[in-house]
């Protein structure tokens, strides 16, 4: 189903050697075929694709190159290329229907669940193409957690919600400890420690969403993708989730889709602005990345007028 236009880039021996090398800054494997590093900084190819260049000096966790996502034969996201940095909060903003959600779901292969979705181009995660044929989507999702727009706790107890991930992944260790640690990291422990065995459906919406974040943290992911995590919540709950994101970014990279520009400006280090492009010939609409840069720059001094129009509230 998935069409992957990716050349085999490194042998498996090379891969294990890199793993053994441990925590090098950018593994050699991220060197792409045309000889450039796809880390942030200088990327003429990406700029040509309508994408600005990021500038913070951290290694990339994702390098996205010429990514197209289609549903059936309908293009949803067109030619996206940029790098997402480690241990930062990267916000994806833009009007409805511009492909933000489709894009974020391609970062942990959640789009696999939609039978008609096809992806081409490449998404490299720590240098490894997520859509290479030998990659196991289950292992991908194990490392890249996701929080959805609407809180989606399982119809089980709070405890079992947290323990589900560690259990299915066969994590060893004391489950009570794992659950407590995840709930503490999710800033929920004090509120729920006395009712761990009660059904998660009895929690408030904000608590449910923090439970979902804690649930994602329980499997110790490296990245958390958040698809409008606060859009269904009140301002107080939203504030708590934003605080939580600041705490989390010390250890995980966060990518967040948001409609709320204040939120993007408040929480994120980097911002990518998506826009809807209408194909003149066919009339089809798809999303593209117009600008990607430091959040401050995007909001105060955008280089594209469409970004400026959006962030100043003239459109969208």
């Amino acid at each position: 189903m998935k069409q992957v236009t990716e050349r085999p880039e490194s042998s498996s021996e090379g891969r294990s050697a890199e793993s053994a090398a441990g925590a090098g800054p950018v593994p050699a494997g991220t060197q792409t075929g045309n000889g450039r590093t796809t880390g942030p900084g200088t990327d003429p190819a990406a700029a040509g694709g309508g994408t600005a260049k990021p500038s913070l000096d951290t290694p990339p966790v994702f390098e996205i190159e010429n990514l197209n996502v289609r549903y059936g034969d309908k293009l949803a996201v067109h030619d996206v290329s940029f790098g997402i940095e480690e241990r930062r909060i990267t916000a994806l903003i833009g009007a409805s229907g511009c492909g933000k959600s489709t894009f974020i779901r391609s970062l942990n292969r959640m789009n696999d669940l939609i039978p008609s979705a096809t992806v081409d181009g490449s998404v490299r995660y720590h240098g490894q193409d997520l859509y290479a044929s030998e990659v196991d989507a289950v292992l991908v999702r194990k490392r890249i957690g996701m929080v959805f727009q609407k809180p989606n706790p399982f119809p089980k107890s709070i405890y079992d919600n947290i323990a589900f991930g560690p259990r299915v992944l066969g994590m060893d260790g004391d489950m009570d400890e794992i659950v407590e640690r995840a709930l503490r990291r999710g800033a929920l422990w004090d509120e729920v420690k006395d009712r761990l065995k009660t059904n998660a459906f009895g929690m408030s919406g904000g608590q449910q969403q923090r439970l979902c974040i804690a649930r994602a943290l329980a499997t110790d992911p490296d990245v958390i993708l958040m698809d409008e995590p606060a859009s269904a919540l009140d301002p107080i709950s939203t504030g708590r989730i934003e605080d939580l994101m600041f705490e989390l970014k010390e250890r995980v990279s966060i990518v967040i889709v948001t409609h709320n520009m204040q939120q993007a400006a408040r929480v994120s280090d980097m911002t990518a602005f998506f826009t809807v492009v209408v194909d003149e010939a066919s009339g089809h609409r798809h999303g593209e990345v117009v600008e990607y840069d430091e959040t401050e720059k995007v909001f105060t001094n955008p280089s594209d007028e469409r970004t400026e129009a959006y962030v100043t509230g003239r459109v969208g």
Partner: protein
Amino acid sequence: MEAASDPPGGGPRPNLTRVRTPRSVGESAIKVLLFVAALISVATTVGIVVSLAAETIEFFSQVGIFEYLLGTKWTPLAGGDQKSFGVLPLISGTLYLTALGLIVAVPLGLGSAVYLAEYASPRARRVIKPVLELLAGIPTIVLGYFALTFITPVLLQGILGIEVQIFNALSAGLALGVLILPVVATLADDSLRAVPASLREGAFGLGASKPQVVLRVVFPAALSGIVAGLVLAASRAIGETVVVLVAGGASANLGIDPRESFQNMAAFIAQTARGDIAAQSVEFLTIFAVGTTLFVMTLILNAISIRFVRRFQQVYE
């Protein structure tokens, strides 16, 4: 787990390569197993077709196909020269009994459905729906008993004073009507309720009265779904065995007098299968020939019904 313990500044390259673990092999095995289970239903159809076709071909090697399809006398179980294999009386009997059932079930079923969908309060629905479900769940042997011990002697001969035979089409037809009434009502109710409220509101906004809205706007809008339900109900009646076996009698009748005894195809099959007949005899083979005829008829009806349902879905989805 490792990712969390790594120091900041770039983790090791994660290994995402698919490996064959017992778990991944299990995943594939489960998928195959589920697929095999799904194939059982296909195998059932193949089994039905094969079991019918093999013996039907054998039947037609002994009885001419035109004699079967065009003959007007059906006495396959009779002895010697009296044997005749014209299936027309069975087919007409089947259709006749079905028509009687529909005459009862269509107006009553549709009336019930319109009341349920357009007039009944939520509380009334909560009472009426289970009654219809209960009626739909009555085993057909019970309806057969009801036809034979109540409809014929008490209702027809007693209250209405009609001189019917003990086994007669009228009684079996009424019982068939009761049998398919819930089918008609339930499916029509579903179709009526699927009509968007905006359509009703639009008509009311033009000053139409409730009966006008129901009859001229909602009912036509739901028509293809309703027809699909009627076709399905008809195919239930066509294939019904026991009601006809018990109340309709055992004569293949080409006539139209509802006071006489009529038999349908399914009841003939049951009656013959119960009898003491030798396997592979021509009497035995008639079971399969008639079975094929019945199967083809219901298949055609079902195809028609599915077509109507498709059209219905296109309108509102």
